[in-house]
């Protein structure tokens, strides 16, 4: 899967922790690090044939950059890819359900606004990727 921080944000601590946490849970992670544009995620997803993309934003720039996120993936034939977003997604205080609604309208499958523990998202990810796991096991058995 692809992870990375969007916008001109250089907050890197959460990004590194995410990578460690995902790897510890058995995911193969391609980490784009900080200061990414939506096209970087799209390009990376194409290159490594990713199952999921997890965007993060700590300084609230996410709202600006993520509008239209799903469509950008659909344009290159990745319309069904799993898209997650998390962090401090907007500037200032806004109700949780507003933020979730906004980002779902951008095409994200799951939205984690100010969720402290990445464990929650990882559990969801394992669930959402069950079919991938099953396919993978079938393939390896066939070999």
């Amino acid at each position: 899967m692809i992870i990375g921080v969007i916008g001109d944000d250089v907050h890197v601590v959460g990004n590194r922790i995410m990578q460690l946490a995902l790897e510890e849970s058995g995911f193969q992670v391609f980490n784009l690090g900080t200061r990414n544009r939506p096209s970087h995620f799209r390009q990376a997803a194409l290159e490594v044939n990713a199952h999921a993309v997890f965007v993060s934003s700590l300084n609230g720039e996410g709202e600006y950059w993520c509008a239209d996120f799903r469509r950008q993936f659909a344009d290159v034939g990745l319309g069904n890819i799993i898209l997650y977003v998390g962090g401090n997604l907007v500037v200032g205080k806004r109700p949780q359900e507003d933020v979730v609604k906004t980002f779902k309208s951008y095409g994200f499958d799951r939205v984690y606004h100010q969720q402290r523990d990445i464990g929650v998202a990882i559990a969801d990810l394992v669930e959402d990727l069950k079919h991938v796991q099953a396919t993978y096991q079938r393939e390896t058995r066939g070999n």
Binding site: V10, V13, A21, E24, G119
Partner: protein
């Protein structure tokens, strides 16, 4: 072999300087005028004099920079009256990124609306003539605090303003601050800064340089921080700097702090002497906790008090202080002055005549010294004959690896965690060339701790936010 050399000084500096100061925002700096201005400053404006007069107590330095001249003028006086021994000038982020136009526009807007649109003092926008006015009647060193990868123009303007201490370095102002500024260019630009400090120095009143040892302030093992500090001291010495402070940030472990202070002092001297830089005077600066602060003011004050005592225990030459509002944003002048007063009170009350020691500290110091020696040895033994290039390659090879640096040239292979004393341990060394014995000892010390949490990332988060 790429050892630091006494004949590695940047050539043609006079012409290079003319090129840099031909920038319109240098406002016609004349090098003769700068020389005269420095020659006429009170002696106490130079760090060497301030350090020489400090007695047994560490000098105290707050941080502080605001956009408006008047406000900076007030802040300077308030900090000085509160007893700061070094006066800070913290620069705004746009100037640090060489975006002088934006800094100037936001300064104008701040002036018009009476609101701060910058997070520091835009020195280049204000210019050196006005900035000199900030420091009339101040007889303490002024310290430039920034985070600028390309600080050539900034430092010219700073020195022209009468600023005698320049913080930073090619590594410490690049790796923690920038995601993509090319590290090799940054090292070259800081050679310029070091050389300019050297040519503006007189024998007894040098322009002083200081490195920024806390780096990312996120679980940086002392061996990494110390190796980088010593490298920056050597790079500056190569350019002729004769007064240099190495520094490190509070680790979160008292034992490790005392050990790190001892090793840093000893090895900085050792390597400067070894490569022919006996004339360089070195100092130790201790930074109060640079990680996440608690938002409760009592707890923040507790950290400030605790770290002040530690600075005494390691006989630091200077302590750089935080405020009780650290978690809340840029502190007011009053809160900042109050922090200076608190720290001075603690230092006076809990002074230590000699560095504290114990068998635990001895063990820790032996380990750190062995690791730093291995890392530096590997850098010196690289092929090639230019020291700064080896430093650059040390990052590409992962010999130097700073945890949680956003920079693309950083290897990110080293993983560190806290042991049961709160000391930072290397759990995965990556390509950092410490010996197998030292790596095993690090892991053994880490294993002595009961890991409380099931997943290591949760442990990491707890270890990072240990003071919150």
């Amino acid at each position: 072999m790429s050892r630091p050399r006494t004949n590695a000084k940047l050539a043609g500096i006079e012409r290079y300087r003319q090129q840099v100061i031909s920038h319109p925002l240098a406002r016609g700096i004349s090098l003769d005028d700068v020389r005269d201005h420095l020659a006429n400053l009170p002696r106490k404006r130079f760090p060497r004099v301030a350090y020489g007069n400090r007695g047994g107590i560490p000098c105290v330095q707050p941080r502080g920079g605001v956009p408006l001249f008047e406000a900076q003028y007030q802040l300077t006086r308030q900090l000085s009256e509160a007893g700061a021994d070094f006066i800070p000038l913290t620069i705004d982020s746009y100037t640090r990124q060489n975006q002088y136009e934006t800094a100037t526009q936001l300064l104008r807007r701040s002036e018009e609306e009476g609101k701060n649109y910058l997070n520091g003092y835009p020195l280049i926008s204000h210019g050196y003539e006005l900035t000199r006015e900030l420091y009339h009647e101040i007889d303490k060193p002024i310290s430039l605090r920034h985070g600028t990868p390309d600080a050539r123009l900034l430092v010219e303007v700073a020195i022209a303003s009468g600023i005698t201490e320049i913080e930073g370095g090619g590594i410490c102002y690049c790796l923690p601050y920038s995601e993509g500024f090319p590290l090799d260019r940054c090292l070259l630009y800081w050679q310029y800064v070091d050389r300019v400090c050297a040519v503006n120095s007189s024998e007894d009143l040098p322009i002083h340089r200081e490195s920024f040892g806390p780096l990312t302030a996120t679980l940086v093992p002392p061996a990494i921080a110390l190796a980088i500090e010593i490298v920056e001291a050597l790079l500056a010495a190569e350019q002729g700097v004769t007064s240099f402070a190495v520094s490190f940030g509070q680790t979160g472990s008292i034992i490790q702090d005392i050990a790190a202070g001892r090793v840093l002092r000893r090895l900085t001297r050792h390597y400067l002497d070894r490569f022919g830089f006996e004339a360089v005077q070195s100092y130790i600066v201790y930074h109060q906790w640079m990680g996440q602060f608690p938002s409760g003011r009592e707890k923040a004050t507790a950290i400030i008090v605790g770290s002040s005592i530690i600075s005494s225990m390691i006989s630091a030459d200077k302590i750089v202080v935080k405020t009780r509002d650290e978690a809340l944003g840029v502190p007011s002048a009053e809160v900042n002055a109050e922090a200076v007063d608190t720290v001075r009170y603690v230092l006076r009350t809990f002074g230590c005549a000699e560095p504290v020691t114990s068998p635990l500290v001895d063990c820790e110091a032996t380990l750190i010294e062995s690791e730093v020696t291995s890392i530096l040895g590997a850098i010196f033994d690289m092929s090639g004959d230019v020291f700064w290039e080896s430093v650059f390659r040390a990052f590409q090879m992962g010999y130097l690896d700073v945890p949680f640096s956003p920079h693309i040239d950083n290897a990110n292979k080293l993983i560190s965690m806290r042991d049961r004393n709160g000391s930072i341990r290397i759990s995965e060394r990556g390509n950092v060339p410490i010996s197998d014995e030292d790596a095993q000892l690090e892991r053994r010390l880490l294993a002595s701790r009961d890991i409380e949490l099931d997943k290591s990332y949760r442990q990491l988060l707890t270890d990072i936010n240990v003071m919150v």
